[in-house]
Symmetry: C2
Subunit: 508 residues, 2 copies
C-alpha cells in the first residue's frame, strides 16, 4: 500500500502540506496516490539520524553490510508484480523493461555485497618499517580507506530503479559504510516508496542502525537544496540534467566545507562512421542505429545523438536509410508530459537552426508519445553553431557531413565532454584510425568500436562518466565496482600497533 509519506529512518512521516501526484504518461492521467513533500524539519531529522547511524554503521563488519545489501535485493524481488505495475504506471515504460531494470538493480546490490567479501576495493598499501635506514629510520606505513559520511542521492527520471532509490549510487554508498538519504524523484514517487520500504525492511531485518537510510519525498527543488547544503551531508550522487547537476555542484562548492558531487549528466554520444563502413555495411548500421536511437524512447543518457561522417554518396544513402527506417518503428511514450514537451521544444530548436534539414517523414503521435526524427547538417554549420551541440533528450539524432578528415577531427576536438564515443569501421580502416581514436578518447569516458553506446554493462571495467559536462568529475565512474571510490577517502596509519589496525591492514 502506498502511503505517500517520506521514510525518516524506519518511520513514515508526512507532517507537511505540499502534496503532489505522479502521472501515467500512457493514459495522460494522474495516478491515484497523493505524496507529501518532506518538511525542513523532516529533512534535518533524516540527516541527523544518518549522522548518528554513521558512527555505528562505519564499524559494522563487511559481512553484515553484505547481508544488508542482499536483504535489500531479496525485498525488492519480493515486491513482485506490485513493483512492476507501479513502475509502468509512473514511467510509461513497458513491463519487459521494468523486469530488466529490476534484475539489474538486484544484480548491482548483490555485486556490491560480493565485492565486500574481499579487500580489493580498499586501496590497501603496506610499507613495513626499515628501522636501520639512514639518515632516518623508515616508519611502518599502511594505507586503507574510510567512508566519507552520509551521502545524498538524487535518482534519475529515466531509470526509476537502476539509477534511483536503490540504484548504483545508493548500493555503492551503503556498501562502503555511508548512510544514504535519497531525494525521491517526483515523477516516480510511488516506485520510490516501494523500494524505500524494501530497504527499510532489509535494514530492520539485518540489524542496521536506524537512519542508515531515509527517503524524502520532494515536489520542487527545495528538498534537494537543503540536503546538499546541510553540514552533515558529506557527498552527493546525482543522475540527471546538466542544469540540475550543475546547480547542485555550485551549491556544494559554496559550502563552508565543500563536498564532492558526482553528477552524471547529459551527453550526445558522438558516433564516427568511416567511408568503408558506409560502403560495405551502411544498411546494416542504419538499421542498428534506428534501433539504438529509439531504444527506451531515446531516453538513455548514452543515446547516440550525433553521427559524424565525411561527405559522400554513401553517407547520403546511409542518412536517408536511417531516416526511413526510424519512422517504421512504432512511436513510444515518453516518461512524463514535461519530458515530452522538452523533447518537442529542443528538437524544434535544433532543427530550426540554419543549414539543418530534417530527413525523416513527420509522424503523427498520441499525447506524450515521441515523434522520432533524423536530421542532417554540414560540418561547417555544425562547427560554428553551439546550439547544435546541445542534447535533445529523446529519439533524435543529427548526421553531420564533414568536408574531410581534418574537419571531422576539428569537430571531435571541439565537442564538450561525453559519456561515450563510438567508432564504426571496417578492418581495413584499422591502420588509419589512431588519430581519430586519440582525439575521440580525449572527449569521452567510454569508447566503443563497431557497436552502439546504449547499454551500460555492470562490471569492473565499466566507466560510466566522462569529461565535463557529461559528469562533474571524470576521475570516477557511476557504474561498476570502481564507483565506490566516490564515497571513500584515504587514511594512513603510521607505526600503529596491530590491535588498533583495521583487519585489512593487519599482518597475515
Amino acid at each position: 500500500m502506498i502511503t505517500g509519506k517520506s521514510y525518516i529512518g524506519f518511520s513514515q512521516q508526512s507532517s507537511g502540506s505540499t502534496t503532489y501526484k505522479t502521472i501515467n504518461p500512457k493514459l495522460n492521467l494522474e495516478n491515484e496516490w497523493v505524496f507529501t513533500e518532506a518538511t525542513s524539519e523532516e529533512i534535518d531529522e533524516a540527516i541527523n539520524m544518518a549522522w548518528i547511524a554513521f558512527k555505528a554503521y562505519r564499524n559494522i563488519s563487511e559481512s553484515d553490510r553484505a547481508k544488508f545489501l542482499n536483504a535489500i535485493a531479496d525485498e525488492i524481488e519480493a515486491l513482485g508484480d506490485d513493483l512492476v505495475q507501479m513502475y509502468c504506471a509512473e514511467s510509461g515504460l513497458p513491463e519487459g523493461r521494468a523486469n530488466g531494470e529490476r534484475n539489474r538493480t538486484v544484480f548491482q546490490l548483490r555485486s556490491f555485497a560480493e565485492m565486500l567479501q574481499s579487500d580489493d576495493w580498499k586501496q590497501v598499501s603496506i610499507d613495513t618499517a626499515i628501522p636501520d635506514r639512514t639518515p632516518a629510520p623508515k616508519p611502518d606505513l599502511r594505507r586503507s580507506v574510510l567512508p566519507l559520511g552520509p551521502v545524498a542521492v538524487f535518482g534519475s527520471s529515466n531509470f526509476p530503479l537502476a539509477y534511483s532509490t536503490a540504484g548504483g549510487d545508493t548500493a555503492s554508498a551503503l556498501a562502503v559504510g555511508c548512510p544514504v538519504v535519497v531525494k525521491s524523484h517526483p515523477m516516480h514517487a510511488g516506485t520510490g516508496e516501494l523500494i524505500a520500504g524494501a530497504i527499510v525492511r532489509a535494514a530492520q531485518a539485518t540489524g542496521m542502525p536506524e537512519g542508515v537510510f531515509s527517503n524524502l519525498n520532494s515536489k520542487g527543488i527545495e528538498v534537494g537544496q537543503r540536503l546538499v547544503k546541510h553540514p552533515k551531508i558529506k557527498a552527493v550522487g546525482f543522475t540527471g540534467s546538466i542544469r540540475g547537476g550543475r546547480a547542485l555542484l555550485d551549491l556544494a562548492a559554496q559550502r563552508t566545507e565543500p563536498i564532492p558531487v558526482f553528477a552524471e549528466m547529459g551527453s550526445i554520444n558522438p558516433v564516427v562512421i568511416t567511408q568503408n563502413a558506409l560502403e560495405y555495411n551502411g544498411s546494416k548500421w542504419a538499421e542498428t542505429y534506428a534501433g539504438s536511437i529509439t531504444l527506451g524512447t531515446g531516453q538513455f543518457c548514452t543515446n547516440p545523438g550525433l553521427i559524424l561522417g565525411i561527405k559522400s554518396r554513401e553517407l547520403t544513402s546511409f542518412t536517408e536509410e536511417l531516416a526511413e527506417k526510424i519512422v517504421t518503428i512504432d512511436p513510444m511514450v515518453m516518461l512524463h508530459p514535461n519530458i515530452k514537451s522538452a523533447y518537442g521544444r529542443m528538437k524544434s530548436e535544433v532543427t530550426g537552426q540554419s543549414g539543418v534539414s530534417v530527413l525523416s517523414a513527420p509522424l503523427e503521435v498520441e499525447t506524450n508519445y515521441a515523434d522520432q526524427a533524423v536530421a542532417t547538417v554540414d560540418g561547417s554549420a555544425f562547427l560554428s553553431n553551439p546550439k547544435l551541440h546541445t542534447e535533445v533528450f529523446g529519439p533524435f539524432s543529427i548526421v553531420v557531413q564533414c568536408e574531410d578528415e581534418a574537419q571531422l577531427l576539428e569537430i571531435i576536438e571541439n565537442l564538450e565532454g561525453q559519456l561515450t564515443g563510438t567508432i564504426i569501421a571496417e578492418d581495413s580502416d584499422l591502420p588509419n584510425l589512431h588519430t581519430i581514436v586519440d582525439e575521440m578518447r580525449q572527449r569521452v569516458g567510454r569508447l566503443i568500436f563497431n557497436g552502439v553506446p546504449t547499454g551500460v554493462e555492470v562490471c569492473p571495467s565499466m566507466n560510466h562518466g566522462g569529461p565535463y559536462p557529461s559528469s562533474t568529475d571524470p576521475r570516477f565512474t557511476a557504474v561498476g565496482m570502481h564507483s565506490v571510490r566516490r564515497w571513500v577517502r584515504l587514511i594512513s596509519y603510521q607505526n600503529m600497533p596491530e590491535s588498533l589496525l583495521p583487519n585489512e591492514l593487519q599482518n597475515g
Copy 2:
C-alpha cells in the same frame, strides 16, 4: 646566472613592467636579483604551448617520460652549490635542510620515473567478452586512465624544492603525461628559476615538446588567478594557506568547465597523550615534542599545534617541562618577514583569548626570528572558542587540559579536518584506545602512534591530505605514488581491436 625572467616553454621572457625582489630573512635584506612578473600575454602563451604540447606529450612512451624525469633529477643535482646557496639566501633555512630537501626532490622524481616501468598506476581492469551470455552478450570491456591535460602548479613557501617548482605536484603530473605550468612562488623566485632551468634543459635533452613545462614569475595573485581561470588548464595543484587554497578552489568551481583543485592547506595536527604515557614517559615526550614543534622553525604543515590530555598532575608537569625545554632551543629565522609578522599576530591572537596561559618564558629574538612558545587552556574554553582551533603557522603549540575522556572525544569530534593526528600511549592503554582511534581517524588523513607528525615519508602507503580544510579532497594524496591519481581520469574501451588499444590493455 639569474635573469629574473619567466620560462615560456623553452625561452625566457620578461616583457612586463612589474618587478620584485626576494628577501634574505637572516640578513633582513633584499637579494640582488630583480624578477619580472609574467604578463597576461605570457601566461596565455605558456598555456597555449602546454595545450599543443599535450597532444604530443600524452602519447610519448612511458620510458621516454621516465628519461625526462630522471634527466630533471640529474640537472637539479648538477646545479650543485649554486642551488643550495640560493635556497638558503631566499628562505633562511640551513644548508643541511637545503641538501635534505634537494635529495627528497630528486628522490621523488626518480621514484615517479621508476613507477612508469610498470602499469600498476593505471587502474587497469579487463573484462573479456562472453558472446553467448543470455539475455544479451557481454562485450569486451577494458579500463585504463588518460592524463587530464595541462596542470597549474602553485608551490609552497615552506618547501622551496620538494613542494615547489619540481616538487611532488610537478613530478606526478609530468609522470602521467600532463604538461605543467608553474606559478613561481614570489618568496623564492631565484630558486624557482634555477629549478625551472633544470627542467627546461632536461626537456630539451630528452626531446620533449616545447610547452611541456613553463615557469611564470608572479608578484601578486593575478598570475595564479588567470592560470586557474584559463579554459585550457585542466587541473590545479596547490600547497599553502587555507585562504589561498580556498580562493583557487572557488575560482575553479565558477568556471564554465569546473576543474579539480587539489590544495593541501592548513592543519593543527592534534596529538592525544594518555595518562599512562604522561606517567611513564612524560619527560621523554616533552623533549621530543619541543623538537617537533620547533623543527624548521615550526613551518611544517604537519607541525603539532595542539596537544590534548586529561587534567592531572602529570599533564601539568608535562606541559611545564615542554614549556621549559622549548625555550632552551636556539630561536631560528622564519622564511620571510611577512611570515614572521603573521606568526606574531596569530600567536598574540590565540594567547590573548580568555582562559589561555602562556607557560614558556618570553624570548628576545632578532628580526625575522621566531620566539617559540607553549600555552595551555582547559577543555571547555577550547571547545567554545573556534579562534583556538586556528593554525598558528610557526613554532607554537597549545596544550588542552580536558575534564575527562568524554570531553576529549567531544573535542576530537568537533575538530576541523587535519592532515595528521597522533596518539601517544603505553602498551597497557591499547585495549582502551579503540574509540579514540575511531574518532581521531575520522578527522585526519594520517594517524601516527607514539611518534611525531613532522616528517612525511615518500612511499606508496603515505597519505598526505585529509578532510577539509586540511585538503580540498581527502580522496587523494599529495605525496607518494598514489598522488598521480589526481591528474588522470578513467577511460573504458568496448570491443576495441587489439591494435587500437593502449599497450597496458592489449592481450598478453
